[in-house]
Amino acid sequence: MRDIYKGNLVRLSAMDAEEAGKAFARWSRDSEFRRLLDSGISSLTSSKAAQTWLEKELEEDSIRQYWFSIRKLDDNQLLGDIDLNVYNWSARDAFVGLGIGEREFWGRGYGTDVMRVLLRYAFTEVNLHRVTLTVFEYNPRAIRSYEKAGFRHEGRMRGALNKEGRRWDILVMGILREEWMQQQEGE
């Protein structure tokens, strides 16, 4: 069996509240990153506050939450985090959230690589039926990356966001087990 944590450019590694707290505080200063990450109000956080928050979050039910940090394969640099949240076990549907905080690695295939690793984990280790995500209309780089990883467009919440003085849609994307299995054929 292959190493399920390893992709071509990155690997999944354990979350370390202290290390990630420092990184989250640094990434929070990049307001563009914050706006791409989620729909909350951008604000600044200290390393200590981020660490305390992470420690609490990491205590959560391990059956529901699979949360990894993302590291570069060549030099181990921490690039971001990715989280699989099985919010509906009876339907075996999970929500994925991905953030690459180190902006010099945006648009270079790191996100696509880690999403492929996470989908393999979701379908072959956690045995899920589908994986869902939402992405914002103003993040075409992420949309392309998710399409490349195999996600399909399933819907849009019109005008759900209000940023920079105008309304934007939230896009809903998903991938089914069968679709992912088909993709793997010949690999």
Binding site: D61, S90, A91, E125, N127
Partner: protein, 189 residues
């Protein structure tokens, strides 16, 4: 849709720590009941200890991997027993523990009725692929009841239990989703 919490003879209710402790303290004095329940040594504990234990379980709150119900008779609303499902979410297998502490209702179909509700919950609400259980060979009444509910005997570990001076086998039973669905006669579940 069917009522998940109501059978022919019993209904399922939420476990109440105080009520459960009060009745469990009586049930546990019945050493035969205790020996049917599992292979641990029969032991008696105080009502306070039991109440703390049930309360702790309640405080842990909802977990997608454990489901516990009390069972009451439909006729008299009498608390007679419980069942628990421990769920392996990744492989979609659930293990059942079931017990009827009120021995005057043993052998009258209450356990079978409870197990049918348990399987209905496991397959049509939790979407399990299989349900498993274990029992001891000195409990033939339970074995017949589980067979009636649809379980098949899948194996035995020979002589792994010592009770009352002799060796007994543990029996392992299971039911698959397809088998359970076939038993529902095409009815919507």
């Amino acid at each position: 849709m069917r009522n998940l919490f109501r059978g022919e003879l019993v209904r399922l209710t939420a476990e109440d720590p105080e009520v459960s402790a009060k009745i469990e303290v009586h049930w546990q004095r019945d050493s035969e009941y205790r020996r049917f329940l599992d292979a641990e040594p029969a032991m008696v504990v105080s009502e306070k200890w039991l109440k703390d234990w049930f309360e702790k379980r309640t405080e842990e709150g909802f977990s997608p991997s454990r489901y516990v119900f009390s069972a009451r008779t439909l006729a008299e609303d009498k608390l007679i027993g419980f069942f628990s499902l421990w769920v392996d979410l990744v492989h979609r297998e659930a293990w059942v523990g079931i017990g009827i502490g009120e021995r005057e209702v043993w052998g009258k179909g209450y356990g079978t009725d409870m197990m049918k509700l348990c399987l209905q919950y496991a397959f049509s609400e939790l979407n399990m692929h299989r349900v498993s259980l274990g029992l001891m060979d000195y409990n033939p009444r339970a074995l017949r009841s589980y067979e009636k509910a649809g379980f098949r005997l899948e194996g035995r570990t020979r002589g792994d239990v010592q009770r009352a001076g002799r060796r007994h086998d543990s029996l392992w039973m299971g039911i698959l989703r397809e088998e359970w669905l076939a038993m529902q006669g095409g009815e919507k579940v």
